[in-house]
Symmetry: C2
């Protein structure tokens, strides 16, 4: 029953077959210039015949590079990250890199563990998006020390060198808020993320500034900060809808919380967008399908992932360290959840 695992075909087998040395075979397969076309042809033919397939493990060991890129992201479930991942994959494959992926589930502990794994796996480079809670980034120190480039996107830390691909979160929130203001909203609330994360504190700043620049008061109870879980969004709505003066506009710090907020508002019997305009920071496919369709500021996930890995690969190939910051443009998508008031 146990399958008799036959020995792998190696370059030695090819060498023996042709009565040449393994090194010649290796060079032939790698199209080394010093090998004659004739032998290359022969070697490749025999390799084909024997069903030879390069052992990447052995190759990695001797070349001291693995051709794999590690990816650390909070979670694959979010559409933003799924898109980023697609962008990463695509470019990686194009360049002959394999990708090993880990999720942190927003846990700093797991993030640390993942860096250890990536280090052990001797990845040639790393692209990651930090958890919302990550403050201390010393676990990325190993890579700097060993000269392994680390590209970060979205949730980044400028304390670790390497390319950064970000979006202007201040602008995103500012634009979204101003959009609601232009629509005539006067009492605008914001469900924000944890303030320890720059992404979310920037959004909160953008929100605040948009209000003050437009001479609207910031009502303290209208600025809530949370982990942005579904329950958090529901709780926020419960609070807001019980206020004597309910908000007439809400800026949600994430796509998913925006969805929940809209849904809660509708269940509470509110007329959207007449009584309440909603816009979320982050767009998901679903936003188009709900009623009313949800306005959003779109963050270009695919593009960010793709740029991150593109820069990473440059760093790897040219053995340079590039700590440039790339700012990706965002798009205001006006849909039916935000509506001219009064």
């Amino acid at each position: 029953m146990s399958s008799k695992e036959k020995r792998e075909i190696t370059i030695n087998d090819i060498a023996k077959e042709l009565n040449i040395s393994p090194s010649t075979v290796s060079r032939a397969l790698n199209d080394n210039a010093k090998i004659s076309e004739a032998t290359k042809k022969k070697v490749k033919a025999v390799a084909q015949d024997l069903g030879y397939e390069l052992n990447l493990v052995a190759s990695s060991l001797s070349k001291n590079k693995t051709n794999v890129i590690g990816v650390i992201i909070p979670n694959i479930g979010s559409q933003f990250f799924a898109q980023a991942l697609s962008g990463i994959q695509e470019k990686a494959r194009e360049n002959g890199y394999n990708v090993i992926i880990c999720q942190t589930n927003e846990s700093v502990e797991q993030e640390k563990e993942m860096t250890r794994v990536m280090n052990s796996a001797r990845v040639d480079g790393l692209v990651c998006c930090l958890t919302m809670e990550t403050k201390d980034v010393s676990h990325f120190g190993v890579f700097e020390k060993k000269g392994i480039p680390v590209a970060m996107f979205d949730r980044v830390s400028y304390a670790v060198p390497g390319p950064k691909i970000v979006v202007d979160n201040y602008e995103a929130a500012y634009t979204a808020t101003e959009h609601l203001i232009n629509l005539g909203c006067k009492r605008i609330a914001h469900l924000g993320g944890v303030t320890s994360s720059k992404v979310f504190s920037d959004r909160i700043e953008g929100f605040k500034d948009a209000l003050s620049k437009n001479d609207l008061p910031l009502m303290p109870q209208f600025l809530l900060s949370s982990d942005l879980t579904e329950q958090d969004a529901r709780d926020a709505m419960r609070i807001w809808l019980n206020l004597p003066e309910k908000p007439d506009g809400i800026v949600a710090a994430s796509a998913s919380s925006g969805l929940v907020i809209a849904s809660s508002a509708k269940s509470a019997g509110l007329d959207l967008p007449e009584e309440l305009s909603i816009i979320s920071l982050g767009n998901e496919r679903c936003n188009e399908f709900v009623t009313p369709s949800l306005s959003a500021v779109d963050m270009p996930g695919f593009d960010m992932g793709k740029t991150a890995i593109t820069k990473l690969i440059e760093c790897i190939k040219e053995e340079k360290v590039d700590s440039s910051i790339t700012l990706k443009p965002i798009r205001l998508l006006i849909r039916n959840s935000s509506f001219k008031h009064k």
Copy 2:
């Protein structure tokens, strides 16, 4: 500017430091029973001090196992696959496996390419979900020959040995269709996937049988088969809504096509669910947020992924070949898009 990559710390460094042999160090680090507790302690301490981290590449080469599992799926963007991936990841990590992931984007060519890559990477096992088009599965032959287990879920081929995790697609469609029938629908249409895929042909069969068992006619124009893209769904709706006798119930073969169908119906001015009931085969989070919320048959993605890798790991560890078929239960989720007629 070029970072002076210092040599890696190896077990030899530890050995030298302690004046013992590298083999002892290796065994100590692996908690080999023949090594005294005393030396284990010393070795680990020094390893810690020096910042030693096992080189998995070297380890893999000498052990002839990599501790990585390859995953081949059509695309990460779909929620079903994202969930499956999460299940796979979780279990893999628990067991100390790394996961390398590739998307085929429903291209058979890419699927073949990916098997080559996985083979080169010498993965210890493979879990995959075939493309909709895959008929010939000879590219999986290498793994069988080498005794590398391959677990398949959802879109599987019984022509390749290994654990299969599936759902009864016939039943899913049958149940969904019968649900609409029970609601009083008389003119039920089905937007199906490509018939070359067992998943979708089973669904079509289930749909047909539910109709005939309930003495409802199958109107030929009510059974459409497609790639299930957004455009396909839109096209189908255009056809159906232009019919003199429009359908009063639709079974969509995928979550995303269901969403598009519902959205098209609403734009066309139909009253959902009064004039048209909709149910989709496959559930997404979004289904709860749209109006009306979309009924669906839920396919347990996370669970399927998790079971697939669990069985795979068993095969790896026990060096057995298990071609069992695991049938995962589906759930009928009745929401507001399907509604008592008449």
